[in-house]
Amino acid sequence: MKPASFEYERPAHLDEACALLSAGDDVRIIAGGQTLVPLMAMRLARPKRLIDIARIPELSFVRDEGSAIVVGATTRQCVLEHDATVRAKVPLLAKVMPFVGHAPIRARGTVGGSLANADPAAEIALAAVTLAATLVYREGDTVAECAAADFFIGPMMTALPAAGCLTAVRFPVWPEARIGVGFHEVNARRSDFAFASAAAQIALDDAGLCRRVALGVGGITPVPLRLDAVADALVGSRAEEAIIRDAVRAALSDIEPLSDLHASADYRRRAAATLAVRAITDAYRAAEGAHAG
């Protein structure tokens, strides 16, 4: 369990990091290293050179831009977990953060690192896809953006170019006053990789009907899935259990779930359906309890 040899660079600025990244093959970015280092220890990754961006000051921030909360790529997960702005403005993101790895992983792991490594069970990726977040990256001198739904391609695979450096992620802020969230996952041990997970954020109108619904499921397919058909079916309803159950079952009927030693495809599909119902129910109840204004 020892990584292969590599060269190590720690640039002081993003410009320098991007130049180093464009300059060679087999160069990889490291920040918290909580996903990459295990891969290197198992020799599933053998980069020739690591560019350490963990201490570049311009990449670690949480910024309120009104219609969105922008999180810098190297912001540590434990910082986001306790951030009051995130809690108030992007409640679903705040809700999933305690489930990201164990506390010692969140103390070092970064938000961008979790997204760039694209584990199918990752909670931050699920929140990003569910809330239709936008990922911002630099390639050389060019700044580009990618919708979360297009960013994740497969397990540990993203649309990020080889010389691209994820710099930030923009989470939309919902303007509605009555918002509730729900999140559930199943795993073998608390905070381990989820076999199935579901995240929901719901906004209600004054009459208590669903005005806006976002639902996503993770861990069951190679990338997190946003289930817009369920969201559409619930808008205008009071999220009655029968409606949720039918919509979720229909939405999950034609997916091909992952399967492994720990959880079969069939189990994952059933678990995801149950968790989705619970997440939506929690979100609706929380929104009902939320005070307008």
């Binding site: 369990m1 020892k2 990584p3 292969a4 040899s5 590599f6 060269e7 190590y8 720690r10 490291i30 290293g33 909580q34 280092v37 295990p38 290197m40 220890a41 198992m42 690591l50 350490d52 963990a54 434990c78 790895g101 164990h102 506390a103 010692p104 992983i105 103390a107 070092r108 041990r189 608390r190 905070s191």
Partner: protein, 163 residues
Amino acid sequence: MPVELNVNGQTRMVAVEPRTSLLDCLREDLLLTGAHAGCEHGVCGACTVLVDGAPMRSCLMFAVQADGYAITTIEGLSPGPGELSLIQDAFCETHGMQCGYCTPAMILTAHALLANNPAPTREDIVDAISGNICRCTGYAQIVEAIALAAERMRSLNRPAGTP
């Protein structure tokens, strides 16, 4: 590569390959063998050390990344040679260890928990050590040890004579 590390309050210079984990550097270069190598890929928690007071996996951090942080290992917790810290003492008293392999990491994790939360619930304690595996499965006594240490630390901070 030369690296200057701050370990247990002392500045130490080491020369390491970039691929050397902080864990291997502590154990092999600095002979601080209290941090244990278990899975070496971030799952078991046996290598936990405190980095600026927060528990982290020393197997998932390269030594070259660790300069400028205050690193605390189990060797840095005892008040003097041959003495035990209050938390270590509580682990002895409640039999909070069996083979001892996970123990330094459990104690450091407990140390960080109690530094931030002097009155943890059982749930808080279980959550704090959820990233540390004890293969002897002696969790009940470990939880008991941390609760006992918390109680003693609280009473230390009360003026004499108060209940």
